[in-house]
Point group: C2
Chain length 407, copies 2
Amino acid sequence: MPEILITNACFATMTDPAGYGLRDNAGLLVVDDKISWIGDMIDCPDIEAVTHIDCEGRLVTPGLIDCHTHLVYGGDRADEFEQRLEGLSYEDIAARGGGIRSTVTATRETSEAELLRLAKPRFEQLLSEGVTTLEIKSGYGLDSENEIKMLRVAKKLGEQYGVRVMKTFLGAHAVPEQYIGKQDDYISLVCDQMLPQAQHEDLVDAVDVFIESIAFNHAQAQRVFETSKALGLPVKAHAEQLSSLGGAVLAAEFNALSVDHIEYLAEEDVAKLANTVAVLLPGAFYVLGETCLPPIAALRKNDIPIAIATDCNPGSSPLHSILLTMNLACILFGLTPSEALRGVTINAARALGLQNSVGSLQAGKQADLVIWDVEKPSMLAYQIGLNPCAAVMQAGQWRKFPDGGFA
Amino acid sequence: MPEILITNACFATMTDPAGYGLRDNAGLLVVDDKISWIGDMIDCPDIEAVTHIDCEGRLVTPGLIDCHTHLVYGGDRADEFEQRLEGLSYEDIAARGGGIRSTVTATRETSEAELLRLAKPRFEQLLSEGVTTLEIKSGYGLDSENEIKMLRVAKKLGEQYGVRVMKTFLGAHAVPEQYIGKQDDYISLVCDQMLPQAQHEDLVDAVDVFIESIAFNHAQAQRVFETSKALGLPVKAHAEQLSSLGGAVLAAEFNALSVDHIEYLAEEDVAKLANTVAVLLPGAFYVLGETCLPPIAALRKNDIPIAIATDCNPGSSPLHSILLTMNLACILFGLTPSEALRGVTINAARALGLQNSVGSLQAGKQADLVIWDVEKPSMLAYQIGLNPCAAVMQAGQWRKFPDGGFA
């Protein structure tokens, strides 16, 4: 039985709902794939044949969690990014074939093997920053074959890298071109065919819907949620990103794991989100030049857990750094560094329904943790574009460890 | 004589003042430390014993240039960053010893060897993104001994990594505590003692002054510029960052290499900047939550070259990524991706007085270049937090090259 004892660290356990849950002079014992004990060294259980890791004062956090990504896709949108900055209007760009439909076309045209190859650098970048759990959505296929292709790639990424990947079915991401004006028919296809087929292949951990004037309305989302419920699948929603349609409240009525974006969520509706997680996506806010802030004060007042995520996607958030996401959340949304770290650990775990197994350093949880070349947790959100990740343990195995250790 | 021929690339030569200067079907020949030829393959000179690098369609750019950094310093300001987000006022933070003076204290207390050790991860991060030339300022010593200590560290970084480091003396960065109310006396010390001593040790490539109400006034800056001129040193200025004091125009009258920040520069003064470079620093704009934009349209109209830089420093811009700087400049300032790339190549070279030797892919210039795992230059500013740098050549030597080449 491999046992690993980690000592002489600044442990940010993330067990304190209002802070880092810091522990000094503590030890953390890993047995097999789990944290078997964390406590003051004076109480350390008698152990033999243990590998001892002296962190020399370094920060140790739970493995980071990116709870909202679209990182499997074909093509890129760099041309569109450039055209917009060169002064072309959204209409001109759409006329040239830009926007989400260009990603749908490219994703459909790209083979499963090639989608996997293209996703790897994005995935590896997140892993290099200590991510041990991440969510990947479908949503650029918009038909059974291509949605399933995307979810298979997501699954393979998790398997090939030994990383926990949660697969979210987002068939109701956009209206396919041939269904414009016939959105209800497309929702029928999603509910009657696409979602059941994807679930049949064991590719769905949760179901997401984009509720917005440019996507799906309240009644359509409700149909997807009801179908998901009947299939025993938890739901979540892209809601109140561009306007206030009541999508977040609807999702909460279906016990959604999370409501994501929510810049336009009305303050008086925040109390209705009890039992869900507010996932803020500062990358999209930044790239789109949004100015309407999510209702942070109301979320705090109502004790709604706040998570943050990269929203990694080729259009509104080509962001591949969970550390930069923490900084963006602090600078643009005014989160504190401790809120930002909870947002990528325990609250991100909640947004994926995994709060009992990951997201904090507690006995009984998976031994997912990161050792950082910094001495205090505020450094993670403060430094921009620097990656101090020194070691990563996933389920009790070192995925990254410095040659020669920390001596 | 080692000769290297690079072909089958998308060359962004940066020789076009309004674009990338793209060349396809071209070749680039390196002899010793220089680019000896670039042109259509059909005109390729007869060469023997050449190493042939087939880039398989990858983008090749000049080595990137970060023309404004303060990356040598002691301590950090993460606590201050956290306190501000937790609601403490600037006054409270100053009372707790925060602000630039905390960095001055920490830098003075840190040995030369330790400053070097601390600067290395910051420096290596920039190098990992294809930076081949960078500027490092003093300015946290504020006395002869400590300013010289900082500049020695800057010089050593360049020597140890084989990278071109330009050393800027910034003794007039802030008023040391014991000189508050006696700024003129401190400027006398800068001009009569600190600057000549630093120059005597061959540690000064240029002289910078922070012209601002919280730093030095017009007359004090003028004294520093006159002293620099007498010593044969080019000047530059931190100007119009927080208010409009005429610092940029003053610096331009002294043929400044660059005027940096300039958010508050009046449009009507832009024409007076002819022969200098406008260095925009989007990291500080972002971190400080600044809302006043630099006069971009007027800079374009008057053909003032625009450079961009990380401003890497522990307070207002703990930013360590030149690629992210390009993205910030596009998103926050509305630069085009091609302006952003000129801003970290040819125009950054101008801001350091190096436009005849680096900053573009032209025969006769230093063979500083980067091969990127992307096919078009817009990808560099578009992708956030992903580093597609595949190979770096500095002065004809591969500093980074993929195992097994590009095959």
